[in-house]
Symmetry: C2
Amino acid sequence: MIRFFVSTQDIQGDIITLTEENLNHAKVLRLKVNEQVLVCDGDGLECLCKVSQIFDDEIILTVSERRSSVSEAKIKASVYIAFPKSDKLEHIIQKATELGAYEIVAFPAARCITKIDAKSSVKKLQRWQKIAHSAAEQSGRGVIPKVRLLSSYAEALKDASKSDLAILFYENEKATTLSMALKEKDFTSISILTGSEGGFEESEVAKAINEGFKICTLGNRILRCETAPLCALSAIMYEAGEF
Amino acid sequence: MIRFFVSTQDIQGDIITLTEENLNHAKVLRLKVNEQVLVCDGDGLECLCKVSQIFDDEIILTVSERRSSVSEAKIKASVYIAFPKSDKLEHIIQKATELGAYEIVAFPAARCITKIDAKSSVKKLQRWQKIAHSAAEQSGRGVIPKVRLLSSYAEALKDASKSDLAILFYENEKATTLSMALKEKDFTSISILTGSEGGFEESEVAKAINEGFKICTLGNRILRCETAPLCALSAIMYEAGEF
C-alpha cells in the first residue's frame, strides 16, 4: 500500500490533507477516489485512510483506522559515519533507513577527504533528510530517521556515548568481535561509528576508548566505508531478533 | 598491502610474473623495486612477494613467504539473485564479494523485468567477474567468488538446494525468521535466494518449498532487491562467527 508521511498539522481529527510534495507524489502515482493509503505521522502512528476528494491543490483523506507502526525496530540504532567521498553517504542513508536505523549522524574525522562547510551543510542536510524520507516510505517504516551533522569528532564521540552501547569499528582491532560486544550486555539503544575511506587514526581510537566505546572488528575482510555500517547494522538487527 | 590475483601459470617456483591487467594495475599504482606485495592464486594461497624487476611488458616478483589466506569465511555462502534492473546486480556482486560470498549466481524469475539473452550473457559475465575480481583484491580476499548465470528458475532451485541449507526470502513470510532457520541445523554451506524488484510469485515459493528450501522473512521492513541479499549475507556471516 502507498505510504505518505505527513506533518502533525495535516492531521485534523479523522481528516488528513495531502499537500505540497505528498500532493505531487500522489498525482504521479495517479491516486484515485476510494483508494486506500497509509499515512504516518513519522512518529510511529499509522492511519489507514481512504481517498475522499481530489483537488488541484490538495487531496482529502478520511481515516478508517489508527494503529501503531509495526515496522520499527525494538532497539534504537544510531549510525555515525565519518564523511565519505561523493555520493556514498547518500547510499548509506538510504540503506540504513531500510535496515531500520533510528538516526544517521555524519561527522568529520582526521582522514576524511570531504569537508562540509556551514554554508553548504543546510542544503546537504535537506537533501539527506529527503533521501531518508523516501526510503522510509518505500520500506514501510513508521518513523523517518533523523539525519544529523556534527561539527567535530569529539562531538560525535560525546553524542554517541549516550547510548547503552557505543561501538567503533577499527580495521586494526583483531580480537573483539561485534558479537562479543553485543552479547556482553543488554541494550535498547546502540551507536555504531565507522570511518571514512582512510579509516580512523590510532589517536581517534584511543579517544573513543576513553569515552567508553567498545572497539570491534567486522571480520578478516576489508569492508569499504559504505559497506561497513550497513553490514554492522544488519548484524545488530539480526542479533536484536528483528529477523 | 597491494594484492594481485594471478593465474597458476604465472607462478613458477619462487618467481611470479605480473602481466596484462595486473601489469597495468601495477603501473597505475607506481609499484617500485623492492616494494612488498601480496599475490594470490585465487584459490586460497597467498604469496608475500618483493618486486625484483620492472620491465615494460612484465614485472618480476620474488616470493618470500607462502601462506593460506586467512580472509576466507569458514562457511560457503552462495548468493542467488533474480535479475534486478540496471546496475543493481553489479552493486550486489561488489558488496557480496566484500562480505565474503563464496559465489554469486544470477537467474531469471517470473517477475524479473530484465532479460538476459545468450548473446549478451558472455560479455555481461566477463564484466561481472571483473567486478568480483576487483572487489576481492580490495577487500583482501584469498578467493575470487565465481559469478554464474543460470537460464531458469528451476535450475536455480536445483543448484541452490545442493547446499546444506537453502533459504528463500519472501516478503509474505511472517513467521520463520532467518535466525530460526540458521539455528535449526549445522551447516558449512548455505544458499540464499532473493527476488528482483517485484519479489517472487506464490507459485515460485511453492516450488522452492518442494525442493526443500526454508522460506524466511528479513523482518518487518521492505528491503529493496539490492539490500536484501547483503543484509542476509551480513547476518549469516555474523551468525557463523565471522565478526
